[in-house]
């Protein structure tokens, strides 16, 4: 490799890096706005959203206090945690098993199941919203239970999760290992949990994050299923900041940060494991 191409390469790289950092700053801009304005009074938010220090009323944590109290934060975060954690765990296990079954039994039936699942990923939620509540509420009378919501979360995210596991198992899980396990006298179930499931870690870290985020943030489905105040999740509990005629921006932003901060902490704490998981999968 001669030096001139090395220099050229380096300059291209510097240029690309600079571009990426610019994009990154643009990415972070709305968050900066949220953080700044969550500390301000509504008047200053409306009149001078961009300024920080020299606002009429100064900065304060009032919005956070108000959001915390109005959201019944501790209760809401408990509900969100219960629902998110259990739904994520259940869908991960069930989807991995289903995807594994589909990959290892390639026949008409499994092909139909898989096609059905892929197709269902593009059903607009509006098309099943009313039928869903009229079946589960009107006929079965199962609404207003956390379990129902968990069940529905699992059902709705099933196809997407199976889809991702399916691709991974087909591409990266060698059948030879399983055959060796069978020879050792393992049953299918044992083989799956002892051999296959651990191998799924890399893709699992991705599906875990995506599902957990979707459950944590979902608004429409929980709003249909849960009406009892004691069961409300975090996004549902911010309802009162949106008036009929105008929104209470300061409190919304403070409430938003309160919803996101737990996720952010979790993400930062688990980042090593998540990245390692992805990389470990790559080495296999």
């Amino acid at each position: 490799m001669n030096s001139s191409s090395g220099v050229q390469k380096r300059s291209v790289r510097t240029f690309a890096m600079a571009g990426m950092i610019l994009i990154f700053i643009a990415y972070m801009f709305p968050f900066l706005m949220v953080v700044i304005n969550s500390l301000k009074q509504k008047r200053d938010i409306i009149k001078s959203p961009f300024s920080w220090l020299f606002t009429v009323k100064g900065l304060s944590f009032d919005n956070f206090v108000k959001a915390f109290n109005q959201m019944d934060f501790l209760n809401a975060i408990k509900n969100s945690l219960i629902i998110t954690v259990s739904a994520t765990a259940i869908v991960t296990i069930l989807a991995a098993m289903l995807a594994y079954f589909i990959v290892r039994n390639n026949n008409m039936l499994t092909r139909i199941i898989f096609a059905l699942m892929v197709a269902s990923m593009i059903i607009p939620f509006q098309a099943i919203m009313i039928p869903l509540v009229s079946i589960y509420g009107g006929t079965l009378n199962l609404l207003n239970h956390r379990l129902t919501l968990i069940f529905m979360h699992v059902g709705f995210s099933m196809s997407m999760t199976v889809f991702m596991f399916h691709g991974f198992i087909r591409g990266s899980v060698p059948i030879a290992l399983e055959e060796a396990a069978y020879l050792d006298g393992c049953t299918h179930t044992q083989t799956f949990f002892k051999i296959v499931f651990p191998l799924l870690k890399p893709i699992m870290s991705t599906t875990l994050i995506l599902n957990a985020l979707a459950f944590w943030n979902d608004f429409l489905l929980p709003s249909l299923v849960l009406t009892d105040k004691k069961l409300l999740t975090l996004p549902l509990s911010t309802y009162s900041f949106y008036g009929t005629y105008s929104a209470d921006y300061g409190t919304i932003m403070a409430g938003l940060l309160l919803c996101v901060v737990p996720l952010l902490i979790l993400y930062i704490a688990l980042q090593k494991q998540i990245i390692n998981g992805v990389v470990a999968g790559a080495v296999k």
Binding site: V65, G137, S223, D228
Partner: protein, 458 residues
């Protein structure tokens, strides 16, 4: 690398601790904030609970009912109200809000489908009309019907809902700002024609306020609040409004021949001409309008008494002088539209007649009567919820200047009560057409065609 990670983790934990601590202790810091600033905390009106002559039905104690609230701004107030009611009557009311991104109607429909129908629901009249047939409880014989007078809404000869409050709309003015700008006293009652209003705006312009009007761009404001005048001003009654809607629907009345249409656009043109957001009329911000009006950057804002919370947030005080000018449609001082403002019961409480048990229905009826007849309920409706009562027997006067102005005008017969029931997508379809007109993307002719088309399709 290790250091960075550690730092990040520490920062995250630190941040969350700060958040938690400050949230709990309610501490505040800043540069110019003053904890005693009276603007910051809205003072709560005390409720006198010492006198209570309301007769509670003992047998209903322990009943649990639900109330679906589509008026987000009174959610907290309603919760307080239901708490007091529970203390007094032993009936528990769960107040459920209609959440963001959901329309009240959608919410009610999904709740009925889920077998979870709210015992009471606060809805617009058109929603009540859609549900009345199959779902609503007939309330003909209730005591409050007599007190409601012509504010009670009849659908197919029956009463299916109780008016929760009266809401009025018109051109809000800031008296102090006008007088300061003009250097003279203003008597709003002297303005009783469109030309008179135009002259006032001109005078303001000459005195240095170039654009004294705030004009909301929201489709509900344009499609519901402005355009509804077409029907409401037919003759100023709900029957007249119904007739106008019916005639437009079956084609007996053509938009081009209906003079209220061009009259309304005459006024709208005036508002447009003096619009403070003329450079970007569709970029106008609702919250900013409240601030501008209070600060005196503008002097007029077309809106209703529900704008008060926004104005209060912007710094308006309850003893400031704000009031309503009529929605001037022409130059005839004898035409009622130029001297009266529109005020009608818009939010209705409907009771579920399908899924609720007899006890629940009775408890809900008791709650409605409690609002109308009990000393505490009367007070809370006006003071806690800050609503204008629709019932003549309520002695409490509203607290804010906008509601007060409407209350006074109701007492002195300077309002007209015409509630027009239009198809539910009226505000969104015709609101979009009005937005086009506001942004000068279509002319009067095209707008009138759009309105005609809308009615042809019904």
């Amino acid at each position: 690398m290790m250091k960075l990670r550690q730092w990040k983790r520490t920062a995250a934990i630190g941040l969350s601790t700060v958040l938690a601590v400050t949230s709990l202790s309610g501490c505040r810091f800043g540069f110019a904030s003053d904890p005693d600033d009276e603007n910051d905390t809205v003072k709560e009106e005390p409720i006198d609970t010492s006198v209570d002559t309301f007769a509670y039905d003992e047998s209903l104690q322990g009943t649990k009912i639900t109330l679906l609230n589509s008026k987000a701004e009174i959610q907290v107030a309603l919760e307080k109200m239901s708490k007091i009611f529970e203390e007094k009557a032993g009936v528990h009311i769960e107040v459920m809000p209609v959440t963001e991104g959901d329309s009240p109607y959608t919410k009610v429909v999904s709740m009925y489908n889920s077998g979870n129908a709210p015992t009471m629901a606060i809805l617009d009249t058109t929603d009540v009309k859609a549900l009345a047939d199959e779902k609503a409880l007939v309330l003909d014989g209730e005591d409050w019907v007599k007190e409601a007078g012509n504010y009670a809404t009849e659908i197919q000869g029956h009463i299916f809902s109780m008016p929760l409050c009266v809401e009025g709309k018109g051109i809000i003015y800031n008296k102090k700002v006008i007088e300061e700008t003009l250097g003279r006293n203003l008597n709003p009652d002297e303005i009783n024609t469109l030309d008179g209003f135009k002259a006032l705006l001109n005078e303001m312009r000459d005195a240095g306020m170039e654009k004294p009007v705030s004009l909301a761009k929201e489709d509900w404001s344009l499609g519901a609040h402005h355009l509804q005048y077409l029907y409401e001003t037919y003759d100023g009654t709900s029957e007249g409004a119904a007739k106008a809607v019916e005639d437009l629907e079956n084609g007996q009345l053509k938009v081009k021949d209906y003079q209220r249409v061009s009259q309304l656009l005459d006024l709208f043109d005036v508002l447009k001409e003096y619009n403070v957001a003329q450079g970007d009329p569709l970029g106008a911000d609702y919250d900013e309008m409240a601030i501008d009006l209070v600060d005196g950057k503008t002097a007029f804002w077309f809106n209703g008494n529900w704008a008060w919370p926004n104005m209060q947030e912007a710094g308006a005080k309850s003893d400031d002088e704000y009031g309503f000018l009529p929605y001037f449609l022409n130059n005839d001082p004898d035409d009622f539209v130029n001297t009266k403002i529109q005020a009608a019961p818009s939010k209705q409480v409907m009771l579920d007649g399908q899924q609720a048990s007899k006890e629940q229905q009775d408890a809900a009826k008791e709650f409605l009567n409690w609002i109308v007849f009990s000393e505490i309920g009367q007070q809370m409706l006006v003071k806690t919820c800050n609503l204008i009562p629709a019932f003549k027997n309520n002695p409490n006067e509203p607290l804010d200047p906008l509601s007060r102005d409407i209350f006074e005008k109701v007492q002195t017969d300077r309002t007209y009560n015409a509630a027009a029931v239009v198809p539910n997508d009226h505000w969104s379809v015709l609101g979009a057409a009005m937005q086009k007109y506001l942004a000068d993307r279509c002319d009067r002719e095209e707008l009138m065609d759009a309105i005609q088309n809308y009615w042809d399709e019904q």
